[in-house]
């Protein structure tokens, strides 16, 4: 990584025309992935990403420039470009940097590079074989094992110089069940901020079986009915509901410019009092965890909503300037090619006081969303959507036949009021969240919850 002396020199150039803040971000990422299809290793992905992003602020005006040329000349040229664009004045600046070492909350015991290729391919095969053997109707299984080894350096004109390395490992299995002319699918994708020791906690065989089970369930499912009804949403990836319906609207990215339905609502009751929601990037080894954010700010636990009252937004450096509020350790970016902005880490609805069985038995007719897929939201209006990948009809308080092809839509402000029962089996699910600063690893999570009324986008019988 770049040394302190060179960083000081580059920052001084970036600051030389009047900027009031400058920052260097360097990334060195080694991505390794193994892909299996038809029971055979089909491809190996092996990429090295390397580059630098230099940023300067003047008030809330920003300039960002990136380069893969990390020679001294390349960096100075890039910094001079930034200086040219941010201001016209001439200023002699000298930058002093002090190295800060943040404790590593996610120490890795087994680096993927130290583990024999055979051991890694065996894990992938074990998962995919378990899926294939689940039922003779499982017609295809695709699996991938991803290892990301990501080292970042952040240095800025406030004397910070820090280097952080984090690893992530993820297994994905996607199974297709086929019955003549119809295909159905099931997907699982457990991941952690860990090395290969992740498989001491995750059983590849169980993951494979689970993907196959979902595909088989959907094969016998009829289309989900359409209309408004109560919905019970299961734990784990079910937490995507909070991520989409509310989380994005609490990011400074939209709040700071007044483009969020949640702007100006701090201290107000925005959700049902049963709802307490937290964003916590410090959870050891969790998929969305980070030691420091991509501006070098240590990660922290932020209570976003407490008993229905809005307590905090998620704020990056630029958001902090615009909002006059402190940074919260939520600044993230996919890599050097992206200017950072406020993003989620591990975001979840905390356990509540309702018993899970009471939640199901309280619903006379509705939908039990056992597994959720992804979704999206427009923060201005709060209109969101997400898909149900395993669902069942609830009749007279009992979970009945499976249904497929459903999505749930609504607006954030409304659904937060309508989450009227919160269970006690909090669990997280892993996802990749895409936004302005690229794709970042995030956990979503919740216990089983009940939404008293929501639009279920299914297919009504014609």
């Amino acid at each position: 990584m770049l040394n302190k002396h060179l960083c000081s020199e580059v920052l001084a150039v970036a600051m030389s025309t009047g900027a009031d803040f400058a920052e260097i971000y360097q990334e060195l990422t080694r991505n390794n992935s193994i892909h299996l299809i038809d029971g055979k290793i089909d491809s190996v992905g092996d990429n090295v990403l390397s580059g630098v992003g230099i940023r300067a602020f003047l008030g809330t005006r920003t300039v960002y420039a990136t380069t893969t040329d990390i020679t001294r000349e390349g960096l100075l040229r890039c910094a001079a470009g930034v200086a040219d664009a941010i201001g016209q004045s001439k200023k002699e600046v000298s930058i002093h940097l002090t190295e800060r070492i943040f404790p590593n909350a996610h120490p890795v015991r087994r680096l993927p590079g130290d583990v024999a290729v055979k051991e890694r391919t065996d894990i992938l095969k074990e998962a995919c074989t378990a899926a294939k053997e689940y039922d003779e109707k499982i017609s295809q299984v695709q699996g991938s094992l991803f290892s990301v080894d990501h080292t970042i350096l952040v240095a800025n004109s406030e004397e910070l110089y820090t280097v952080d390395r984090h690893l992530r490992t993820r297994l994905t299995v996607s199974a297709v069940a086929s019955d003549g002319g119809e295909n159905q699918s099931g997907f699982v994708g457990p991941g952690r901020a860990m090395g290969m020791e992740m498989f001491e906690f995750i059983d590849p065989k169980a993951a494979g079986k689970e993907a196959a089970r979902v595909a088989m369930t959907n094969l016998r499912a009829d289309y989900c009915p359409a209309g408004q009804m109560p919905v019970a949403i299961e734990n784990g990836f079910g937490g995507v509901i909070f991520h989409e319906a509310c989380g994005h609207s609490l990011e400074a990215t939209s709040v700071a410019i007044g483009a969020s339905q949640m702007a100006g609502k701090l201290g107000q009751k925005i959700a049902n009092e049963k709802v307490t929601a937290i964003d916590d990037g410090t959870l050891p080894g969790e998929w969305g965890s980070i030691n420091v954010d991509d501006e070098g700010h240590p990660s922290q636990r932020n209570v976003l909503i407490e008993n229905g009252v809005l307590k905090s937004y998620m704020i990056d450096r630029l958001g902090s300037r615009r909002m006059n509020m402190p940074m919260t350790g939520n600044s993230r970016r996919q890599g050097y090619a992206y200017e950072p902005t406020s993003r989620m880490t591990n975001t979840y609805i905390a356990n509540g006081s309702d018993k899970n069985e009471d939640i199901i038995s309280s619903i006379e007719y509705g939908l039990y969303a056992a597994k959720m897929g992804g979704g999206s939201v427009h923060p201005l209006t709060g209109a969101f959507n997400f898909s149900v990948t395993e669902g069942y009809i609830i009749r007279n308080g009992k979970i009945c036949e499976p249904v497929r092809g459903a999505s749930l839509i609504g607006t954030g402000s409304q659904i937060l009021q309508d989450i009227d029962m919160v269970g006690q089996n909090l669990e997280m699910g892993q996802g990749m969240c895409g936004s302005r600063s690229g794709s970042v690893a995030t956990n979503v999570g919740q216990p089983l919850i009940r939404v008293s009324n929501i639009t279920v986008g299914g297919r009504s019988k014609s």
Partner: protein, 441 residues
């Protein structure tokens, strides 16, 4: 480091390692963007990056590795990493390095723009000012930006094949938020161009879109005649495009497997893939160096061919269609539903009492290419007296892509293309479907 020096180091390492078949794929891109918030410039960004993707054949298997780090040691390691990766491959798919096509189409090169920060700043502010002048309901968070970029690629392999391509693009984006009391809505428009003459219209369009959606109501759950606008239909086509991939078909992941020569869509549906469409970013060769061609994928409802690369073509005992992507994938060029004959008025008249869909969201989640099922958040306008009536939102349209292809009754006469970030672009005219399932209130 210049490409020629990188090439020299890598070729030397490949020869020393005793490799007979190998290929380098080099890219270099540059981009610049100016953005405004409220009525001031708030952001400026620029980037340049280079990368090399290397592949080689070891014992009949292809291995890959890529890097953006250009130290000699790293470039040499690139060769050994790819060789090592090849040893893990078990697939029987035959992947080859290609010696070259006899002839390549001469394509029109879009001249890379010369980035001009001053002009871009001026246009961005002019767009933003225009937006604010059009309505007093314009709200915070409204953004305009002007961007330009260029990319150069070079493919070089052990057969001595050397192909280069380059293209440039300039475009403007307007993202409008409007507020009326407690109600908010938004509009979004993007177009190619660098001057206000070329881009000015996007401000009008985005503001008109945002204002037209204010006061949107709900619809009753039920079945409705539907017109899907070209912009939205092309998103659906893009989401489900992988079903036209021969690789997906051969792996049992597309329900179009084995359907070549069969009727898969209504008579009025014709789908093209055209690497040479005038005005688009044209491509003479694909990711494997094979000459591209213009072809009719679906002709009056009949599936003529899927898209093939060298490996899937070999397996099927036929020729590549020139749709290879790097890493043995399938690449689409200008992939679009061809224009029909119906005017806008005719489509709306046919769909009277139905809904005109102008927005679909969350396709990455609400649509599944393996099953064809979709259930997607939508917004649009009721069609009343053969004209667009009140705006509606917060409903889903649900169906199955394979059924939808057969249900299309009428195709409009104007194909809407997006702007492309690369050489893949999707397009579609408006289409009329007599009945679709809608979930609303």
């Amino acid at each position: 480091m210049k490409f020629e020096s990188m090439k020299e180091i890598i070729v030397r390492a490949a020869k020393e390692a005793g490799l007979d078949e190998y290929e380098l794929y080099y890219y270099a891109d540059e981009d610049m963007s100016v953005g405004a918030l409220k009525q001031e410039i708030d952001s400026f960004s620029s980037g340049n990056s280079q990368g090399i993707d290397f592949r080689c054949k070891v014992n009949g298997k292809m291995g890959y590795a890529s890097t953006e780090l250009f130290e000699e040691e790293e470039l040499t390691a690139l060769v050994s990493r790819a060789m090592e990766n090849a040893k893990s491959i078990e697939s029987d798919d035959e992947v080859d390095i290609f010696p070259g096509s006899p002839k390549y189409e001469k394509v029109e090169i879009k001249e890379p723009p010369v980035p001009n920060a001053a002009q871009m700043t001026e246009v961005t502010l002019a767009l933003q000012n225009k937006v604010y002048s059009l309505s007093d309901k314009i709200a915070d968070g409204t953004r305009s930006s002007a961007s330009c970029g260029k990319i150069e690629t070079c493919l070089y392999n052990s057969y001595g094949l050397e192909l280069t391509a380059s293209y440039g693009l300039q475009y403007g984006v307007v993202q409008v938020n409007v507020k009326d009391g407690d109600e908010a809505s938004f509009g979004f428009e993007v177009a190619e161009g660098a001057t206000m003459e070329e881009l000015g219209e996007i401000a009008d369009k985005a503001v008109a879109e945002a204002l037209s959606k204010l006061g949107a109501g709900l619809v009753e759950t039920g079945h409705y005649p539907i017109v899907i606008s070209g912009k939205q239909m092309r998103s659906l086509l893009s989401t489900f495009s992988s079903v036209f991939s021969s690789r997906a078909a051969q792996k049992g992941l597309s329900l179009l497997a084995g359907k070549e020569g069969e009727k898969i869509a209504a008579d009025c549906v014709t789908i093209m893939d055209d690497p040479f469409r005038p005005g688009s970013i044209q491509a003479a060769f694909d990711g494997e160096g094979v000459a591209t061609s213009r072809k009719c994928i679906v002709e009056n409802g009949t599936l003529n061919t899927l898209l093939y690369n060298l490996s899937t073509a070999k397996k099927a005992g036929r020729e590549s269609t020139g749709n290879g992507a790097r890493h043995n994938g399938i690449r689409f060029f200008n992939f679009y539903i061809a224009a029909g004959e119906a005017s806008d008025e005719e489509l709306l008249r046919k769909a009277n009492g139905g809904i005109y869909i102008t927005e679909v969201k969350g396709l990455h989640a609400g649509a599944n290419a393996t099953t064809g099922d979709f259930s997607i958040e939508s917004a649009g306008f009721m069609i009343e007296d053969g004209k667009l009536g009140r705006p509606v939102k917060s409903f889903t349209i649900a169906g199955n892509f394979f059924e939808l292809l057969k249900q299309i009754d009428t195709v409009g006469n104007d194909v809407k293309f997006g702007i492309s970030g690369g050489s893949t672009m999707f397009g579609s005219p408006d289409v009329y479907i007599p009945q679709m399932s809608v979930a609303g209130k």
